[in-house]
């Protein structure tokens, strides 16, 4: 009897693991769906003021384009920046902006979690049958943030045509992979920043320095930065995987850190790892949530 039980145990454990995974998948799918309809409701409500929305998007687009104009002006005085030509810098700028723009569009609302913890409105999220992560992300979904993404796509289109490169299928494929992985890495930083706000309610600024600060840094060639900084963003906060490392491969530049060649393709794996870590920290933060007085 005892032996039979022991023999059955691994099977039972497997079944339990399978069920846990299945439940997690069901939960994630439900979370994404809920995110979808909450975000859709926000979009519909902003569309009530259509003119204002269009102006906001155009405004966003123009401001971000002016940002790139500064780089163009810089190139009227120089031919190369850290060994990179204007189309090459444009490529870095566009991929970084696209990754960040995508993450910002989908998860930009995470900044607000700190104030929600402070005033105790996280409570209202906890009593609804939708994962809190999805609710926080979809809260006040602002489609106007699409402006940055638009600019990035326009710039990417220009740089791809302007670059004097042999666009092999491998290189071409690396571009969307880079953008999606990069968005996932930035997204993980958003979630991680949000999770830390359960403990320190004003951690938003630290997170902003990684997201906004990170994307600005990644818009420039890695060669203009100090080696220590490059190591930091490769091994500590893996922002280098957003666009630098894969872009170096696409553009055929040498890696200033002389890392093995395969790291240029490691972005999806790094992004997945970041998401897992962010998910676990988020869960721990939510568990430790102590609510407010009343």
């Amino acid at each position: 009897m005892a032996e039979a039980e022991r023999a059955a145990a691994p099977g039972v454990r497997d079944a339990r693991a399978v069920r846990a995974v299945r439940e997690a998948v069901v939960r994630a799918r439900w979370g994404v769906r809920a995110y979808g309809f909450i975000a859709a409701m926000w979009v519909r409500s902003t569309m009530a003021y259509r003119t204002s929305f269009v102006l906001m998007v155009v405004g966003n687009l123009v401001t971000t384009l002016l940002d790139f104009l500064a780089i163009v002006i810089m190139f009227t005085h120089i031919d190369e920046l850290g060994g990179f030509t204007l189309p090459e810098v444009a490529f870095l700028y566009a991929t970084s902006s696209a990754a960040f723009g995508l993450a910002d569009l989908l998860l930009g609302s995470f900044d607000r979690i700190g104030s929600r913890v402070r005033d105790g409105t996280v409570d209202t999220l906890l009593v609804r049958p939708v994962p809190v992560l999805a609710q926080v992300a979809a809260d006040r979904f602002a489609l106007r943030r699409v402006g940055r993404l638009l600019q990035a796509v326009l710039l990417l289109g220009w740089s791809v045509t302007a670059l004097d490169l042999d666009w092999t299928p491998g290189r071409l494929l690396l571009v969307p992979v880079m953008v999606v992985s990069g968005a996932a890495i930035f997204g993980a930083v958003y979630v991680l920043g949000g999770a830390f706000q359960f403990w320190a309610q004003d951690a938003a600024e630290v997170q902003n320095s990684f997201t906004y600060g990170g994307t600005t840094m990644l818009q420039y060639p890695p060669t203009v930065f100090a080696r220590e900084l490059l190591r930091g963003v490769t091994f500590v906060v893996p922002l280098a995987f957003v666009n630098w490392l894969p872009a170096l491969h696409v553009l055929g530049h040498d890696d200033p850190l002389r890392l093995p060649g395969w790291v240029d393709f490691a972005s999806p794996a790094v992004a997945a790892l970041c998401c897992v870590v962010a998910g676990l920290v988020w869960r721990a933060g939510l568990r430790g949530y102590q609510s407010t007085g009343s």
Binding site: A34, F37, I38, M41, W42, R44, S45, D119, G120, T121, D123, T124, L126, V127, R128, P129, V130, P131, R140, R287, Q290, S291, G293, S294
Partner: protein
């Protein structure tokens, strides 16, 4: 459900009387406890505890860790269809208790079941069975019109279309929300918002409705409207209602049973009437005499507590009848008018706290 009910009975008996004030505890057990009507247990708390770790800065880098026992071993059961009021001073542990009952906070100790579910472990599953209204903050979407908020609630809880429409129509009618449906939540007045929030919490037909300070800051008419609605809901649908409040009129008009919590402990659990006995509360008879007279004396069971011109105030135990006292005064004094004041429950509770502390201090 039946099994857990039986289990609770033994648990309840074993711990019964451990925390509450003796007399009140008895009333609670006899009238409303699970041993009473044999009704289905809906909420069950045994030795419920919540300890907060509070970190305080004592120096530049030094931090002191301190434990705050917000809820310190509470036992109670609520049968299906009951309406129970939680009262107690600020920081007594009422809201913390409600938050544990809704799964927002994880208890530090003890056992908790709501509709057969452990709230902390299966919070998401529980959310479909309960409705929550926070008096201080809305669960609706601030910038969305009410109609859109409700549409979202429908999708979030996956409420079938027909049931959703029936529930919404009912709430709109009874809570008078018709003209508010196209107004963004942020533009609603406090009373309107509260009614809107209550409707939102009921669209998915919850078995248990929690209300944290549902009438706080409302005007008299809004309060009456909310109370009428809750009473009907409880009577017609049999929804179990748990509410915390500062407004004792809420309790008087809604709840047959009241649970008093202070310093994280259960002080009283039973009928509102019993609270008066426990608190040794007094009623006041205000008499207007023809002219200014010396304080009335010699009325058995009553004593004059105040005089002001021809008006005098007499206090007597809340459990005693006013009739013989009035008769006695009318016989000896030139009586013009009189009125009777019911005891203020806040005083009753305050007195009860004082009683509790007295033996502890001595």
């Amino acid at each position: 459900m039946g099994e857990s009910g039986a289990e609770s009975r033994t648990d309840g008996d074993a711990t019964g009387g451990g925390t509450g004030v003796g007399a009140g505890r008895e009333t609670g057990r006899e009238t409303y406890g699970p041993t009473g009507g044999g009704a289905e247990v809906c909420v069950e708390a045994v030795g419920l505890e919540k300890v907060f770790q509070v970190r305080r800065r004592t120096g530049v880098l030094r931090r002191e860790r301190r434990e705050v026992r917000a809820v310190d071993g509470i036992d109670f059961t609520v049968a299906r269809g009951e309406m129970v009021g939680f009262i107690g001073p600020n920081g007594a542990g009422k809201s913390t208790t409600i938050k544990m009952l809704t799964g927002i906070l994880t208890p530090s100790g003890g056992r908790l079941r709501v509709a057969g579910i452990d709230p902390a472990r299966e919070r998401t599953r529980l959310t479909r069975r309960i409705g929550v209204v926070f008096g201080q903050r809305t669960t609706l979407w601030w910038d969305l019109p009410l109609r859109d908020s409700y549409a979202l609630v429908r999708r979030i809880y996956r409420i079938p279309g027909e049931r959703y429409r029936a529930n919404l129509d009912r709430c709109v009618e009874l809570l008078d929300l018709g003209e508010l449906l196209d107004v963004p939540v942020r533009q609603l007045s406090l009373g309107q918002r509260m009614r809107a929030d209550i409707a939102a919490a009921l669209l998915h037909d919850p078995e248990v409705l929690y209300l944290d300070e549902p009438t706080i800051g409302l005007d008299v008419i809004s309060k009456a409207q909310v109370r009428d609605f809750l009473r009907d809901l409880n009577a017609e649908r049999g929804t179990t209602v748990l509410l915390t409040t500062h407004d004792l009129t809420d309790i008087e008009q809604l709840c047959e049973r009241v649970i008093v919590i202070d310093h994280g402990r259960l002080m009283y659990d039973g009928a509102l009437a019993g609270l008066h006995e426990v608190g040794e509360s007094e009623r006041t008879l205000v008499v207007d005499l023809e002219r200014e007279l010396p304080p009335i004396e010699g009325v058995p069971g009553a004593r004059t507590v105040r005089t002001e011109g021809p008006r005098q105030w007499l206090a007597f135990p809340a459990s005693a009848s006013a009739a013989p006292i009035v008769a006695r005064i009318a016989a000896d004094h030139p009586l013009v008018d009189l009125s009777l004041r019911e005891p203020d429950i806040e005083d009753v509770i305050a007195r009860m706290y004082a009683q509790q502390r007295r033996p502890a201090a001595g």
